[in-house]
Amino acid sequence: MEQAAATLSHVCKIFGQNKAIADLSFQLPKGKIVGVVGPDGAGKTTLCRLLLGLLVPSSGQIRVLGLDTQTQSDELHRLVGYMPQKFGLYEDLSVQENLDLYADLKNLSHLEEAFKELLEMTGLAPFTDRLAGRLSGGMKQKLGLACALLGTPQVLILDEPGVGVDPISRRELMKLVRDLSKNGMSILWSTSYLDEAAEFDEVLLLDEGKLLYNGKPEQLTRQMAGNVFLMKEKKTAPRALLRQVLRGENPIVDAVIQGDAVRLVAPDKKTQKVFQNLLTPVKPRFEDAVIDILGGTPMGESKVAGQIQIQNTTHFMIEADHLTKKYGHFTAAKDISFKIAKGEIFGLLGPNGAGKSTSFKMMCGLSRPTSGQAFINGIDMRKNPAKAREQLGYMAQKFSLFSPLTVMQNLRFFSGIYGLKGDQQENRIQDMIDVFKLGPYLTSHAGDLPLGFKQRLALACAIMHNPSILFLDEPTSGVDPLTRREFWKHINAMVEKGVTVMVTTHFMDEAEYCDRIALIYQGQAIKTGAPFEIKKAHETMEDAFIRTILEYDKRTSS
């Protein structure tokens, strides 16, 4: 028996002109969790599929459990469990029926014991009769994992299992997989969550198919020791401070908002000296190191806010007044109230199915509240929706663009329905092309764009009419950290000009960009406040989130 569960030597995979994997050699150690980390398009999924024998390498050798992935694939598939990005659960079948089906597909029988164990382990035992489509995002992933684990594979390959799953479920998933690895299973876990990757035994950092780092995550993090700081200035708000450091007068690697300060990664000694009085050293985290390896955060100022002029506004641009939404007997949102001031970023955080989308939809008029009112710049959303909507920019989940249309056609359409025409329309479209660097893609179909560009185009389409309010629904899910930083730079620039933003997000660190957040749980806003008020000292946003929910559960159950 070999020591490694899988071995790749000099593997290349080329699609047309595109090198998805370039000369990759590594070993997957037995009984360990190896994280595959990298931005979108780095080759993570390609690597998973190569290991499964679903793709043939263009050159190089792959052996999994000593087997050739091509010639011995039948044998291999019995020993490898795979959970693809979108696990093929049958939503119209129950939990048990899904398990049965996958057992049949794998040609397994007499699994009563295994089923029991898996259901026990994933906590799905009480829900065996529930339709898979009715499960929450986290539960779906657990069911997917259970199906992948049928037949007790020796190697488990997980392709982004954490996407769209709330932090609590993600932690549970991690714990489950951790237990599996302790029992000797070898696991390859691809992810775009860098905080997740920090907990793996080893990471493979990929970028455009090239291996940038292979080793323990702590080792990489340690390299950044002494280079990470929290930056604060009494007179300047963190957002303005962030803009200052990103202008690029002093070389830095990364800068993001964290609480009421800016987290600065600056190995450059001169920079450290310039800001000396403002900096407090902090412990580095994995993400700091990854951004460093990827070449640092995008610098420069966003030009998006160039001509934005916000006029005729009230103090509170968005107002939710006791919003309640009931579907039959089920209350999706209960008595939600908040006021968002002009130039504020307000975040709705919460697990899947907690009611954050429902609240969001009521605010932008996609759903009619059962009771309560929603006001946009003082206009009642129910009484005059068309007028209220003229002032909104809306970016839907998964960057809903017209994928069969070209980038240019999309730009034309969205500017058109917001009433732009003639020279004004042409100028605005040109602005967007310049700001978001869409030039090379104008005749590409929106559906064929890389994810990062889809996001840019979606943002461009949402802001072409100079809205005074922006609604962003999960605007950065699935997008790599660099693109996410760039995205927030644009948003911050607009906010500085007085645009008001309401955002829903899964990414806890993204909540740091918000001036205030509301934690939505079981249909209610259980806590509202500035991120640094909600967090306790030395807590990450994710810790704070989980603690608040657990506290709430304890309070309500007693």
């Binding site: 996609l366 809306y394 359409f413 329905i417 917001y418 179909h445």
Partner: protein, 375 residues
């Protein structure tokens, strides 16, 4: 306010342009728009005419006299008759009908010649295959005509015994050309299918793309969104209809007696009533697949109960009621009327107002439902 109207219009235009681009961007869509009218037109029209042209029949001549044989000759020499079977017992005749070998069975009783010589009414029995009621009716007309002609032939120019000479003449379609009927009806059915599928897919497709919310959140009003979906569907259908109208004129030589204006006006009103149904199906469905199923669920009974397959008078009474709320029923009447006899305005109005009511109802229902679905 004028300015605002203008800007509403420009938004609507953006919506309509987008709809065309979406439809045109998919090569499958392009084929779907161009191919069916051409294909169906040629295939259906030619195939359907064969049925009434090359008919087979059986004659059971019990009399076997000179006069009865003369009648048999008449049938054998008729161009639309392909084969004439001769049998000499009832069973053989029944079996030919049962096996659908023949449309028409004629029995000549053994006192046929005797009765004619005596100047008494002579009888001939026609048995028609009711399973093909349309074709059977046409064949019956032909057969009656042949018998009547033969009657006047053998009895001289002024027949002493029969005072009333039956002279059947098929108005508006003097040669009883079945092709005419088929081509005109097909134009209607195809127009319906096009509009129905384009509108039914429109909203469902946006839901699949995830762009539906995006449009709802824009300042467009719900009715504008629906108009934006309806107009492209109707324009594309009218283009298709034009192909078929041209084909009908030049390929099938079907005269267009009425005015082109009236024809297109009626088609547009019909399509409005259909697009209401399509939009309703669309708001109901989450995916395009569901929408396609919805289209078929609507289409099959609509075509069946329109008088295209079976004359409405031949339907059971309770089904006839459905025929009268069926837009296709009125549309067929209008099409045939305008095409073949230049319908006077009263006749057009008689069939247009039900269509207008149906259009008003389906469109407002689609709009109402669309609004309700936003909850």
């Amino acid at each position: 306010m004028k300015c605002s109207c203008f800007s509403r219009l420009s938004r609507l235009i953006a919506l309509i342009i987008k709809e065309f681009q979406i439809i045109w961007s998919d090569p499958r869509n392009r084929i779907m728009i161009i191919l069916p009218p051409l294909l169906q037109m040629t295939l259906f029209a030619f195939a359907a005419t064969l049925e009434v042209n090359n008919i087979s029949m059986v004659i059971y001549d019990k009399d076997n006299s000179q006069i009865s044989r003369g009648l048999t000759d008449k049938f054998e020499n008729t161009p639309i008759v392909k084969t004439v079977y001769h049998v000499n017992n009832q069973q053989d005749m029944t079996s030919l009908i049962d096996r659908q070998k023949v449309y028409l069975a004629i029995t000549i009783p053994n006192d046929f010649a005797k009765n004619i010589y005596r100047g008494e009414p002579a009888k001939v029995q026609f048995i028609l295959d009711g399973r093909k009621s349309n074709a059977a009716q046409i064949v019956q007309n032909y057969a009656t005509q042949i018998v009547n002609n033969y009657q006047s032939e053998i009895l001289g120019v002024t027949p002493p015994t029969s005072k009333i000479k039956i002279d059947i003449r098929n108005w508006y379609n003097p040669n009883l050309d079945y092709q005419w009927f088929i081509v005109i009806s097909l134009t209607g059915i195809l127009a319906m299918v096009m509009t129905l599928s384009i509108t039914a897919l429109a909203v469902a497709q946006e839901k699949e793309l995830g762009t539906f919310d995006q449009i709802i959140v824009s300042p467009l009003k719900p009715y504008e969104i629906l108009i934006g979906k309806t107009i492209p569907a109707i324009i594309i259908t009218l283009l298709d209809v034009t192909i078929m109208v041209v084909a009908a004129l030049y390929l099938f030589h079907i005269p267009l007696m009425g005015s082109v204006f009236t024809l297109y006006g009626c088609i547009t009103i019909f399509l409005l009533s259909i697009s209401g149904v399509g939009l309703f199906i669309s708001t109901l469905c989450q995916t395009q697949q569901q929408a396609i199923l919805g289209v078929f669920a609507f289409m099959a009974p609509t075509v069946l109960l329109s008088g295209f397959v079976t004359p409405i008078e031949n339907m059971p009474v309770y089904l006839q009621k459905f025929a009268y709320i069926n837009p296709l029923t009125y549309f067929f009447r209008l099409m045939k009327g305008i095409y073949l006899k230049d319908f006077p305005i009263e006749n057009i109005w008689m069939n247009i107002w039900p269509l207008l009511i149906i259009a008003f109802l389906t469109l407002s229902f689609a709009g109402w439902f669309f609004n309700k679905k936003l909850d």
